[in-house]
């Protein structure tokens, strides 16, 4: 079972490596941000897999913190970086 978890973790890491291309290529800032956001989700999955594979339950807490805080960067991006049309602003 451990082997399966680790194999899945390796697969997810390869996913991250592939997603990095989207960050590097763009083309728009939103594409890059969403790729980074996707890594947050992937990271949570990898952490949960490793928690089982390494038998370290505390890693679930790390995954929990990740899941809670990963959205912060996206919110900061939308509120502070991304251009909004003037009619959207109350």
């Amino acid at each position: 079972m451990e082997k399966l978890y680790l194999a899945l973790a390796v697969f997810l890491m390869l996913n991250v490596a592939a997603g990095l291309l989207r960050i590097l290529r763009g083309p728009t800032a939103a594409d890059r941000m969403l790729a980074a956001q996707l890594f947050g989700t992937t990271g949570v999955a990898i952490l949960l897999l490793l928690a089982e594979a390494q038998a370290v339950p505390a890693l679930r807490d790390v995954a929990l913190v990740f899941a809670l805080l990963a959205a912060l960067a996206t919110v900061a991006f939308v509120k502070r970086v991304w251009y909004r049309k003037p009619e959207d602003i109350p």
């Binding site: 990095l20 370290v56 960067a73 900061a76 502070r80």
Partner: protein, 89 residues
Amino acid sequence: MNDILPWLYDSLIALTLLWIAWQTLSTRDLFKAVLLFIVFGLLMALAWVRLQAPDLALAEAAIGAGLTGALLLDAVGHLRVPRRPGPRK
């Protein structure tokens, strides 16, 4: 066979970290650099996990992935003006 998966995973994470670090330092686009830094923090947390340091992973997850990202993106928003390429030395 038993050792190849952890070895594969560790080398994958180490190589990706080095690659991201290089890209973060060499890119001229501030926003891209900030995003790559956030991803670097995420992968660093995963690396701490592999190094049997869940405490550091937890701190890195809380600070690196969440707060630093928001702070740096806020700074990019304040700078706002796209960085013009400066004179090359």
